[in-house]
């Protein structure tokens, strides 16, 4: 709760929990609705006691940024999948694994997690270690995992998590 309005995070969590309950149950009888209200209240109280209602616990303010990032990530996942599928079914194995150090410009933990998870989600690359602003990435093809290849993803995940003004 270091900055921003905790009330907004609280309301965001409330809306998400109510939506989750309604989506899971789909019943609107008074008994189940009151049980849902009770569960949501208990969740909110526990989250407040655990002190996790902050930017990371309720990142709904950035939902627009992630909504813009997601289609691009899907496109990358599809492209990378084709490469790895071809490597899997090819008659002769022609992979050239490599460990690459990637520098990130992401500052906040949320942006770093977004970037590292995006690297891991795209088949053919896995984040092995995160240390400060450097990441150790294992890649299936050496030629496709030069540090420049990750610059675009780095920039986009930084904008998605932190907004345009943040970062280097």
């Amino acid at each position: 709760m270091e900055r921003g309005a905790p009330v907004a995070y609280f309301l965001g969590l409330l809306v998400a929990l109510v939506g989750f309950w309604l989506g899971m149950s789909g019943h609107f009888s008074p008994l189940l609705l009151s049980l849902g209200a009770l569960s949501v209240a208990v969740c909110l109280i526990l989250a407040y006691r655990l002190d996790i209602i902050d930017r990371e616990g309720a990142p709904y303010v950035r939902i627009l940024g992630y909504a813009m990032y997601f289609p691009w990530l899907m496109k990358e996942i599809v492209k990378a999948n084709i490469t790895v599928i071809r490597a899997c079914v090819k008659a002769d194995l022609d992979i050239a694994p490599a460990l690459v150090k990637v520098k990130t410009t992401c500052r906040t933990d949320l942006a770093k997690v977004t970037f590292a998870n995006s690297i891991t989600l795209t088949p053919g690359t896995v984040t092995v270690e995160v240390e400060g602003d450097k990441m150790l990435v294992h890649a299936l093809y050496e030629q496709e995992a030069q540090p420049e290849a990750f610059e675009d993803m780095d920039r986009r995940s930084r904008i998605a998590a932190d907004g345009k003004g943040a970062g280097a």
Partner: protein
Amino acid sequence: MGDLIANIADFWGMARFPLGAALCLGGGILCLIGSVGVLRFPDFYTRLHAASITDTAGAILILLGMGLMAPGWLVVSKLVAIFVFLFLTGPASSHAAANAAHTAGLQPMIGPIGQRSDDDEEAA
């Protein structure tokens, strides 16, 4: 105009089951390809890459197919929840496995693999 909309709705009702079935089948085939890759690739880290096909492409296609065949929005909302959790936890678990192997000191194979196995055969 109402006729056209009714036609489209009719077509959608007819097409969504075969479409969903085809997507599920495609996802299943991709999962199979991922398992083939896991068996073929030489070491732990490369096998992780093959497994991530099953994680992403296979799961996405199967969930999309099930969403198309779903009887109502309730089921779709549950599928969306499954999709979100898979997308958040999948990379976390892959990273945990890779990081554990790296911390334990497992050295990955580096460099072109295919050519080297040819050299091995000649040497043997």
